[in-house]
């Protein structure tokens, strides 16, 4: 539709336009620039809409855009890994959606095809078509080689033959329950937003005219904090910040995970639908799935919850609310384990016992925690003695030192690995505990890395690389013989020809 592109262009440029409005005061000349700029932006958006066309042929999806700078993107149909449909509030008001087609070899350098401003019905049918790849003969219009008219003019009936309502059953794997919102404050997702707001707000307070000249609530608040006693002010600010972070986390949770639903389609895909204002529907082909990861940030683990992430090619492996690889939002651990088991079909990979890494690994965890803490303490004390630094950094360094042994022990307890029938399982981490189950057939190569100190302790870090997710998954601090045993069992006949004595 006409409106989507220009409006979204203005939205994208808003951070740049705001300062323009501020320097408006310097004279009429400034105002002229602002209006000219906005008009140019709208024209740019229009030209992009006018020239964007796409088509689906028997073998490819192609996108053509641009007037002066022509862009042409094409993707073979069998390289399509994931289809993501999202609709912001603006889209929904206009009855539109945005389709993002994920392909590409690795998810750190993905190849996206974005079709913005499709009619919602067309978008969903395009998704069904691409994913399930019905035979071309059924939908002759879809196989035509003619370029589409500009996106607005087409209707659903012209472009695709209406498929019969899918009779394939969908098996619901997970549905978010309202009570699980109690895990929202433990995700710390509000922290960064809160810090950004506080920082930005403080800048405005300090630099704008409000605090200097006009009597207002902001000025009174500013004066209060500047004049108040340090500890009271600090406590009040800390308490206020915590409250704000919790509220933001809860709000973010609701916005991102409203009516979260994970289901398995018998066509071989996992479908995730979620979102309150911006709705998203992501489809992940199961045969592109290389494994899953049960992630527990520290606070979430203490609260008894967890998240589930997919290790898949063609997905943005980003933060959980942005990336498409989130399968289960923060929920009770038992629930996440159940869903994970039913996705990979092997419950023992999720719940089964793990092989511990031994006392050498434990010693390493402790030295790696204690030595930096001691060095930090020594450095801070030295600074105080020589250069008369304040005392409070010493307090912080001592706090780190006090926490270090507990952290090291927790990190050691998390270490473990096992090899189940179809998966390589590895668990590690304390501040962010992850249990990853990687499909054995999905492991591309093995690496065995050892630092100088690891070699002296007889330990190595086994690295399994795969085409999805983070691309490499580690089993840290295992004994060399055990690492080799796991590697040989996971990929048979790979290491044998390099054995000692050959």
């Amino acid at each position: 539709m006409l409106l989507i592109h220009p409006v979204r262009e203005v939205g994208r440029l808003l951070p740049a336009l705001i300062p323009l409005f501020f320097i408006n005061r310097s004279g009429d000349f400034g105002a002229w620039w602002t209006y000219a700029g906005t008009a140019a932006v709208i024209l740019l958006g229009l030209s992009r809409w006018f020239t964007t066309r796409f088509r689906v042929t028997a073998t490819q999806v192609e996108l053509r855009a641009g007037l002066i700078f022509r862009r042409r993107k094409a993707t073979p149909l069998d390289r399509v890994r994931t289809i993501d449909i999202s609709a912001s509030p603006l889209h929904r008001v206009l009855g539109l959606a945005k389709v993002t087609i994920g392909t590409g070899v690795s998810s750190t350098n993905p190849d996206w095809l974005v079709l913005d401003g499709l009619q919602a019905q067309v978008a969903h049918q395009l998704r069904a078509d691409l994913l399930h790849r019905r035979s071309v003969a059924k939908s002759p219009t879809a196989a035509s080689d003619a370029w589409s008219a500009p996106i607005e003019a087409r209707t659903a009936a012209e472009e695709f033959e209406a498929y019969p309502e899918s009779a394939e059953p969908e098996q619901e794997l997970y549905a978010l329950r309202a009570g699980w919102i109690r895990y929202a404050p433990f995700t710390m997702s509000g922290l960064l937003t809160a810090l950004a707001i506080v920082g930005f707000g403080w800048q405005i307070l300090e630099n704008s005219d409000f605090t200097r000249q006009r009597e207002s609530v902001l000025k009174n608040i500013y004066d209060y904090f500047v004049a108040a006693d340090f500890w009271t002010a600090a406590l009040q600010i800390a308490g206020g910040t915590l409250l704000v972070i919790m509220t933001l986390s809860i709000a973010g949770y609701i916005l991102a995970f409203w009516q979260f639903r994970l289901s398995r389609h018998s066509g071989g895909t996992l479908n995730v639908t979620r979102g309150l204002l911006t709705t998203r529907a992501t489809s992940i082909e199961e045969r592109r799935l290389r494994g899953i990861e049960v992630a527990q940030p520290l606070l979430l683990r203490l609260a008894g919850g967890a998240r589930l992430l997919a290790v898949s090619t063609g997905l943005k492996a980003g933060s959980a609310t942005q990336g498409g690889n989130l399968l289960v939002p923060p929920s009770p651990y038992a629930e996440v384990a159940r869903v994970a088991g039913s996705i990979i079909g092997e419950q023992s990979a999720i719940d089964g016992p793990l092989i511990r890494h031994g006392s050498a690994a434990r010693r390493r965890r402790h030295t790696r925690a204690l030595v930096p803490a001691l060095v930090l303490l020594a450095g801070v004390v030295l600074l105080r003695v020589q250069f008369d630094f304040p005392v409070w950094p010493i307090g912080i360094a001592v706090a780190f030192l006090a926490v270090a042994p507990a952290l090291a022990e927790d990190r050691y307890r998390a270490l473990g690995h096992s090899l189940s029938e179809r998966h390589l399982v590895s668990r590690l981490g304390s501040l962010s505990r992850q249990r990853t189950a990687l499909r054995r057939e999905g492991i591309i190569s093995f690496g065995i890395r050892s630092s100088y100190f690891q070699r002296r302790a007889g330990l190595v870090t086994l690295i399994a690389t795969t085409a999805g997710g983070r691309q490499h998954y580690e089993v840290p601090d295992v004994q060399t013989a055990e690492a080799l045993r796991v590697a040989r069992a996971a990929i048979p006949n790979l290491l044998e020809e390099f054995a000692v004595g050959t």
Partner: protein
């Protein structure tokens, strides 16, 4: 719920069969030297510019020079003893590093491309770097410091071997 490590067999991995070229020692030395020279130059500049903190800066400078000398003498020779490679019809096996070492093994059906790099410094020493990529962005195997003839031969052999295998290698 944990179990103890199972009794392991006496399997051990040997090192890969081929060394890289001897000229790689000089190449690594020169490459590190450039970095150290830059650091020393900055320190000398500050030394001349700030005569009041002379003693501290002289001490820092001498420490830097000592570290640089130690690094330049030890690192390239250690690297030369560690860096090895081997390519068989079924797999590519590399070993690299010096202080921290890493061994990588990739099966031939999973290899996607073979790249040869020859930057200006490498060309000066008539060496090449060969990078073998797989479908995983983190799974590339790198062989540094091969002489040009060996690198080209290896690239040809690997390209032929990967063309022979089918599948999309993911």
């Amino acid at each position: 719920m944990t179990t103890e490590q199972p009794a392991s067999t006496s399997f051990a991995l040997r090192a890969p069969g081929h060394l890289v070229h001897r000229r790689a020692i000089a190449y690594w030395t020169v490459r590190a030297l450039i970095g150290w020279l830059a650091l020393t130059a900055i320190q000398v500049f500050f030394l001349i510019d700030h005569p009041d903190t002379r003693t501290v800066r002289v001490i820092l400078l001498s420490v830097t020079v000592a570290l640089a000398l130690a690094h330049l003498v030890v690192m390239p020779r250690w690297r030369y003893r560690v860096h090895r490679w081997e390519a068989t019809p079924t797999a590519v096996y590399t070993q690299s590093g010096w202080f921290n070492q890493e061994r990588r093994i990739a099966p031939m059906p999973r290899i996607q491309t073979v790249d040869t790099q020859r930057g200006p410094l490498l060309q000066l020493f008539k060496l090449s770097n060969v990078t073998v990529t797989t479908a995983s962005a983190a799974g590339a195997l790198k062989i540094q410091g091969l002489d040009t003839k060996t690198a080209d031969q290896l690239t040809t052999d690997l390209t032929r071997a990967t063309a022979a295998t089918t599948g999309d290698a993911t």
